[in-house]
């Protein structure tokens, strides 16, 4: 590890939450505009987090905030692994641990709403995880290794080989951003039926920590979209922006659905087009070593 790598780590640790905070702010502002409202200031998510850290720490049991720490640490870890172009399969595993930490945290509090939210989040993981794995598999078939850094050896960008997986990944973004129509595990808008879902029993600093974790997570997720055209930074960023706008517009034009519906969509349409894409890659581009 040289000094350039350390600089990169510091940049990610400091830059990612700032970027994520802006992403969340733009999200709220855009949503408000789409609904014909003025909307909160751009830095509203930042104000929220600072406020949450000023509130009293009200917890159900001492281990509860420890799960938040696990969540944040593993999200940061997966983001760092993405930035360093490490093993895609490993990134997915590390990222899953972070999601599971929130689920276990929600389950451990014993609130019925947190339990409903957590079990719905498990369903969400069940529906997007296969697509992520196929994404990693496509990278393996194309480059002969799971390492993201090997993407630069490809003659054309990843999007040219796996456009169908790109479409599926757009929906994965929707699920992972916890936006409508898939916002049933925890969301600001579902409080009549779900209170706050998985995060019902978190308050003050614990919730603030989760928000910071979300900021890192947003950057990580958009980074996954960036990888589809990582050879050209401008177009890669454009893809990330497109994915982000897609998520927000979907959020505003759709209503929350049953989790069964999401499972059907992702395990039929999304999974089938992803597998079709894998088959195409296998027959036309795969060179056995």
């Amino acid at each position: 590890m040289n000094s350039f790598d350390i600089l990169k780590i510091v940049l990610v640790l400091i830059g990612a939450p700032i970027l994520g905070c802006l992403i969340a702010g733009i999200d709220r502002k855009l949503t408000a505009r789409l609904q014909g409202r003025v909307g909160p200031p751009l830095l509203q998510p930042y104000y929220d987090v600072v406020k949450l850290f000023k509130k009293d720490n009200m917890i159900v049991h001492p281990a509860q905030n420890f799960y938040v720490v696990i969540y944040v640490v593993f999200v940061i870890l997966s983001l760092l692994m993405l930035v360093f172009g490490m093993d895609m399969l490993m990134i997915i595993f590390v990222y899953t641990i972070s999601s599971v930490a929130l689920i276990v945290g929600g389950m451990s509090t014993g609130s019925p709403y947190a339990r409903v939210g957590s079990s719905r989040e498990i369903m969400a993981i069940l529906s997007y995880e296969p697509i992520l794995i196929l994404y990693a598999l496509a990278i393996y078939l194309l480059t002969g290794t799971f390492k993201l850094s090997a993407l630069s050896t490809l003659s054309s960008p990843l999007l040219a080989y796996i456009p169908l997986i790109f479409i599926s990944m757009l929906f994965v973004m929707n699920i992972k951003f916890k936006k409508s129509p898939f916002d049933y595990s925890t969301s600001h808008h579902a409080h009549q039926e779900l209170v706050k879902g998985m995060l019902t029993e978190y308050s003050g600093p614990g919730l603030g920590g989760i928000e910071i974790g979300h900021f890192y997570e947003y950057v990580f997720l958009l980074g996954l979209m960036f990888m589809f055209w990582s050879s050209n930074i401008i177009i890669g960023l454009l893809l990330a922006v497109i994915a982000f706008l897609f998520v927000i517009i979907m959020d505003n034009i759709t209503a929350r659905v049953y989790w069964q519906w999401m499972l059907k969509v992702s395990w039929s349409i999304l999974l089938i087009i992803s597998i079709a894409n894998i088959l195409i890659v296998y027959y036309f581009y795969f060179k056995p070593a």
Partner: protein
């Protein structure tokens, strides 16, 4: 300063006729857009800063109100919206009504009217913001309100 920039609200309906509730919800609509002050209508008391109470308290829901109040982490502000929540209003001499919200939990600001206009409620929320800041500065903690049974007190 940031405390006043992101007030999250929990809306508690104790025996309200729903007139006030509709006006509270109207604050969130595009016309009044409470979110430009950072206001979010949050579902759980554990994440709220301002407790907006509508309606007069009765013996059936007094413990629910106390329970919710105890679950809001400090610093917290209680805003009584409507004549009922402030004094008991039109229901003040009903056999089952205890009275205004301040009979049960400490109230920091009142919004009069039956029902109050959304502008008045927003004014109330904005007034509550400075109280919230002062409570944080002075480190004022809300006392835990003890819960009793549902029994009717002898003076009722």
């Amino acid at each position: 300063m940031t405390l006043a920039k992101s007030p999250w609200i929990i809306h508690v309906n104790v025996n309200s006729c729903n007139g006030c509730d509709i006006e509270v919800v109207a604050c969130l609509t595009p016309l009044y857009d409470a979110e430009r002050f950072g206001v979010l209508n949050i579902g759980t008391p554990k994440q709220a800063d301002i407790m907006v109470v509508t309606g007069s308290v009765n013996y059936k829901n007094v413990n629910v109100l106390k329970n919710l109040y105890n679950q809001v982490p400090d610093p917290k502000v209680v805003l009584a919206v409507g004549a009922c929540a402030s004094t008991g209003g039109i229901f003040h001499d009903c056999y089952n009504v205890i009275g205004g919200v301040d009979q049960v939990i400490p109230v920091d600001a009142y919004v009069p009217g039956c029902c109050p206009r959304p502008e008045a409620i927003l004014d109330g929320v904005v007034a509550a913001l400075s109280i919230l800041e002062n409570k944080k500065k002075g480190n004022v903690k809300g006392k835990e309100v003890k819960m009793k049974g549902n029994e009717v007190p002898s003076n009722a």
